[in-house]
């Protein structure tokens, strides 16, 4: 089973039962030992099972293992982790795609609370910092605020973010300056409101982002695009913000 590859499953008549090895990052803040890894072996797995299913099986073996999960279908973003060196959601990662031993680590560059659980406080603070809500001077109208279909289309690729943190935790600029660079996730949210035809705070939003850190630490490395489990493109969203800034300043 060491060389499971997706293509080989497609050729196989059906899911095969199998044994897989997992190497999981462990850290107990209350224990004496520093961080380390622990090996687990599971039997009777099928390639169609998701990594989260395997983690839940490991949890049955060893209830001290800590990880977050909720919806189990790639909507809530709770189970973001580093899977074989790449950030992703355990619940939508098929075991069949993974080489062994499956190395599970917490999201890189983010403080670890315990095992695979990281401290997302800074991430959420940055999300709040872009004021991710519609800002309009007029009082709330009786009916919805209308948009043209074209105006609505500009939000496609921006509103679908589930804030799992895979992108920001894959961004080298975010690793170097996590306190002052907002990171791809928060900037995608900023773009979502800057692009919104109903929002009237566009100029203020652009002003707030115009310093050396908040947006301009982005060097278009595009790791965020590479890992986003929802297939979004934060680099392009950041580019759209830059273009608007440019238009505003000229």
């Amino acid at each position: 089973m060491a060389d499971w590859q997706p293509l080989r499953f497609m050729q196989a008549p059906g899911p095969k039962a199998g044994r897989m090895r997992f190497s999981v990052y462990r850290f107990d803040p209350e224990g004496d030992a520093g961080p380390g890894t622990q090996e687990y072996v599971l039997d009777d797995l099928t390639p169609d099972m998701m990594l989260l299913d395997a983690l839940l099986r490991i949890k049955e073996q060893d209830e001290t293992l800590g990880f977050r999960r909720s919806c189990g279908e790639g909507v809530c973003g709770s189970d973001a982790m580093n899977i074989n060196g790449r950030n992703g959601l355990a619940c939508i990662t098929r075991l069949g795609e993974l080489v062994e031993p499956v190395k599970l680590r917490p999201l890189p560059g983010i403080p670890v609370i315990r095992d695979l659980i990281v401290d997302m406080d800074n991430f959420y603070r940055q999300y709040r910092e872009v004021e991710p809500w519609l800002q309009a001077r007029e009082a709330q109208p009786e009916v919805e605020r209308f948009q043209l279909p074209e105006e609505r289309e500009r939000l496609d690729g921006l509103y679908e973010c589930i804030l799992c943190g895979c992108c920001s935790a894959a961004c080298p600029s975010y690793w170097w300056n996590p306190d002052r660079f907002l990171g791809p996730a928060a900037l995608l949210q900023a773009a979502r409101f800057i692009e919104d035809s109903r929002d009237e705070a566009c100029d203020k939003r652009l002003d707030q982002l115009d310093d050396a850190y908040k947006l301009f630490r982005c060097h278009s490395i595009m790791n965020c695009v590479d890992v986003c489990p929802k297939g979004l493109n934060p680099t392009e969203a950041i580019e759209r913000i830059r273009k608007r800034m440019l238009r505003n300043s000229t």
Binding site: S173, N177, D211, K214, L246
Partner: protein
């Protein structure tokens, strides 16, 4: 200040990049086609006031471009404030000094 360090710096980097490419290609072609192919022809061409001004602008653009890039690297990687300020000052001093020397060369040519 904030306007310059964000969008302003980004814009400066791109505008200087465009000028660097355009001047390099244009001057490269002109110098390659110099007839006769000699030092005298080259220095004569560069000695014309317009060409000298454009070459000077090239030098200034190069230094400005280097400033934004070097500053980006230092902001990314050097976090202790004192060390960063020292390195930024060093970079700024070096680039300004280079600019002065280059200006003196262009003026004297």
């Amino acid at each position: 200040m904030s306007g310059f360090s964000g969008m302003g710096a980004w814009l400066l980097q791109r505008l200087t990049a465009v000028y660097l490419v355009v001047f390099t290609v244009w001057a490269g072609i002109r110098l390659a086609l110099a007839d006769p192919w000699s030092y005298a022809a080259w220095s004569g061409w560069l000695g014309e006031p317009v060409n000298a001004a454009l070459a000077w602008l090239f030098g200034v653009s190069l230094l400005a471009h280097a400033w934004v890039g070097g500053r980006d690297v230092l902001i990314d990687y050097i976090h202790p404030l004192g060390l960063r300020l020292a390195l930024l000052s060093l970079l700024a001093g070096w680039l300004l000094g280079s600019g002065l020397v280059f200006t003196a060369l262009v003026v004297s040519a």
